[in-house]
Subunit: 219 residues, 4 copies
C-alpha cells in the first residue's frame, strides 16, 4: 500500500495538479443543477382566485418538473463519471484543461435546453435539441477520458487497461441511447422522452465497473 | 492518537474518497441558500410615489422574509447534519453517491417551495407542499446515514454504535415534527407555520450528540 | 517550526475540522458577490431607438453600479476578515457553526439591500436598511471571533492576545462608521452614501494587524 | 525531489495560504460562467403558434449564443491563467488578496457586458464596453502576476525568471488584441467581433510556456 501511495505522489509532483479543475467543475455542476429550478416560476394568481386556481396551476407545471428530474439525474450521471475519471487522473495539461472547459460549456447549456423542453414538451424540435445537448456532454466526457488515458499519459502507469475500456464503453452508452431517442422522436415525442428518462436509470444501476471502486485484495 | 489516524488513513486508500461529493454538496447548499433571496423582488414604484409607498411595500414582503428565514435555518440544519455524517464517513460507493444526489435534488426544490409559501402563506396547500419538501430532505438524509453506517460499511469499524443510534433519532426528529405540522395545517395554517419555525430552533440547541464532537479523553 | 506544526495538528485531530464551513462560506460569498450583477438589467430598447437611447439608458444605471461597487468591496472586506479568522481557528463546534450560518444569512441579504438602494439611492429608508444590513454582517463577524477566541477555546493555546484584541477592534471599525452613516443620513443621504463608500477603503489600506500575516522571526 | 518539496512547504508555513482565495475565485468564475446562460431566455410563444414560430425564434437568439461562446472561452482563458499563477504562488498578503478581489469584480461584470452585446451586437458602444471589460480582467491579472513575482516576493525563490517574463507577455497578448478590436470597431463592428473571437483561440493553442507545465528532467 505504501509503495502504491508513493508512486501516486511521485506521478504528481512538479505537474499541474487536478485540484482546481475539479473545484471549478464541481462549481459549474452544482450551479447548473441548482439553478434549473429557478426557471420554474411560482404561478402569480390574484388573491381572490388563489383557492380556486393554485392547485391546478401547480399541476400544469408537471412537464417542467419531469424534465427537471431527468436533467438533474443526467447531470448527476455525468458528474459521477467526471468524479470517477479524476479518481484515476493524476495530473493535467493544457489540452485536458480545455477539453474540460468545453465539457463545462456543454453542461451550462443544459438549463437552457431544460427550460426549452419544459415549455414545449410536445414539440419535436425541443426534444431533439435537448437530447443533442445531453449527447454533446457525453461525447466530450468520452474525449476527456480517451485523451487522459491513451498511452496512460495522465494516469498511473499501472492503471488496468480493462478498466479504461470498460469506462469508455460505459460513457458511450448514454449518447448512443440518446441518439436513438432522437430517431424515435420522429415517430413519437412522448416515447422519445421516456427513452431519455430511462438513460439515467441505467447509469444508476450497479455495473461491472463497480468492482474498481474498492481496493483490490492483493494490496 | 497515532494509531487512530493510521486506521483512518488505511480505511480510505484505494477507495473513492468523499472529498468531491462534499464539495458538490457544499456548492448546492450554498447556492440554494443564497439564491432564495433572489426570489424576493425589490418593489418597483414610480418615482413620484416612492416616498409614500416604499415603506409599506417593503413591509408587505414580510411573509417572504419569514419563510426565507425558516428555509435558510432548515437548510443550515440539514447542512450541519450532512457535515457531521461525513465527519464519520470514510469512503463512498455508487449507492451512497446516488443517495446523496437524491438528497441534493430535494434541497434544490426548497427555493421553489419557499417562493410558493412566501407568495401564498395562508394557503393550506402551500404549507403542505413546503413541509413535505423539508420532510423529504430529512428522510433522504436519514437513509444516507443508515446506508453508510449499517454494518459499519463506510465508516470506521470502531465507530460507537451509540453515536449511530443517537444521530439516527436526531435526524428523524425534524421529519416527525414537520409531519405533525402538516396534520395541524388542517386546523390552522398559522399554527402549522409556527411549528415549522420551531423545528430549526430545536436543532440549534445543544443536544446529547454534542459530546461526540470532541476527542474522547482516553485518546 | 516542526513543533509549531505538531501543536497545530494535535489541536485538530478528533475535533470537527473547519474545512467544510470554510467551503460553504466561500460558496455563499462567491454567489452573493457574483449574483448582485444579475439585478442590474440590460435596458431593452426597440431597435429603431437603440442608437439614440442606449448610451443614456446605460448612464442612468450609474447608481446601481456605484452601490454594486460598494457592496462588492464590503463583501470582500468581510470575506477577508472571515478568511483571517479561520487562519487562526483550529476546530469548530455547534455554536460556532451556527454563528457562521447566521453570518451567511446576513451576507445573503446584501444582494437585496443592494438592489433596493440601487433602485432608490436618494431614499433615506433605503440607505438606512442598506447600512443596517452591512452593520449586522460586521457584528456577527465580531461575535464569531469573540466566541472562537475567548479563553482560546477554538484557537491555538499560544495565539497572541494582542492579535485577538487588534482584530476585534478592527472588525468593529466598520459597524461603527456605518452607524455614523445612518445618523448622517438624516442630514444628507448623499453624504451618508459617501461615508459607506469610505469604509471599504479604510479596510483595504494596510493596518497594524498585517504583521501577523507572516511568520515571526523567532521561528 | 524531496528537497524541492521541503522548500515549498517551508515557504508556506506561518504565512496566509492561498487555498481560500483560490476557492473563492473558482466559485466566482464558475458562477459567472454558468449564469450567463440564464440571460438567454427561452422564447414564450402561444401554443397555437409554436409550430410555426419556435424554430425561427430560436435562430434569432444566435447573437446571444455567439457572444456567450466568446465570453465563456475568455473566462476560461483567464481562469487557466489564474490557475497557472497560483501553481507558482506560495503565499498571499493583503495586497494580493485585494488585487484578486478587484479581478473578481471585473469577472462578475462579464455577464452584464455579455448580455448587453448579445442584445445589441451591431451597436459599436456595446462592442467597446464588452472589449473594455475583457481588457480590464486581463490587465488586473497582469498586475496580479507582476505583484506576486517582483523580487520573487510571493513565489519560490528559485522560480525561473524566464517563466515570469514569458507569462507576463502571454497575459498581455489578450488586452493588446482586444484594444485593437476597439480601434477596429470604428471601421466595422463585425470585424471587431471576429477579432474578439480569435483571442481565446490564440490562448487555447499550445504555447512556449507549456514546457513549464511539467517537471524539468533534472529533478
Amino acid at each position: 500500500m505504501e509503495s502504491k501511495l508513493n508512486r501516486s505522489v511521485s506521478s504528481t509532483i512538479g505537474w499541474i495538479t487536478t485540484t482546481r479543475i475539479e473545484a471549478l467543475s464541481d462549481g459549474v455542476f452544482a450551479i447548473a443543477m441548482t439553478l434549473m429550478i429557478f426557471n420554474i416560476k411560482v404561478p402569480q394568481i390574484p388573491s381572490e382566485r388563489v383557492a380556486a386556481e393554485l392547485t391546478r396551476r401547480l399541476l400544469d407545471l408537471w412537464p417542467h418538473f419531469l424534465v427537471y428530474l431527468i436533467s438533474f439525474a443526467m447531470a448527476g450521471v455525468y458528474w459521477v463519471g467526471h468524479h470517477n475519471q479524476y479518481h484515476h487522473i493524476r495530473r493535467t495539461n493544457r489540452v485536458l484543461l480545455w477539453i474540460n472547459i468545453a465539457l463545462l460549456l456543454c453542461v451550462t447549456l443544459i438549463p437552457f435546453s431544460t427550460a426549452l423542453l419544459g415549455s414545449y414538451p410536445t414539440h419535436q424540435g425541443a426534444v431533439v435539441l435537448y437530447a443533442t445537448n445531453l449527447i454533446l456532454v457525453g461525447l466530450v466526457l468520452f474525449i476527456h477520458w480517451h485523451y487522459a488515458t491513451s498511452q496512460h499519459a495522465l494516469v498511473d502507469p499501472d492503471l488496468d487497461p480493462e478498466l479504461i475500456r470498460l469506462a469508455s464503453r460505459r460513457i458511450l452508452m448514454g449518447p448512443a441511447l440518446l441518439a436513438l431517442a432522437i430517431v424515435f422522436s420522429f415517430v413519437s415525442t412522448q416515447g422519445s422522452l421516456v427513452l431519455c428518462g430511462v438513460v439515467p436509470v441505467l447509469y444508476i444501476l450497479p455495473g461491472r465497473i463497480d468492482r474498481y471502486w474498492k481496493p483490490t485484495s492483493s494490496e
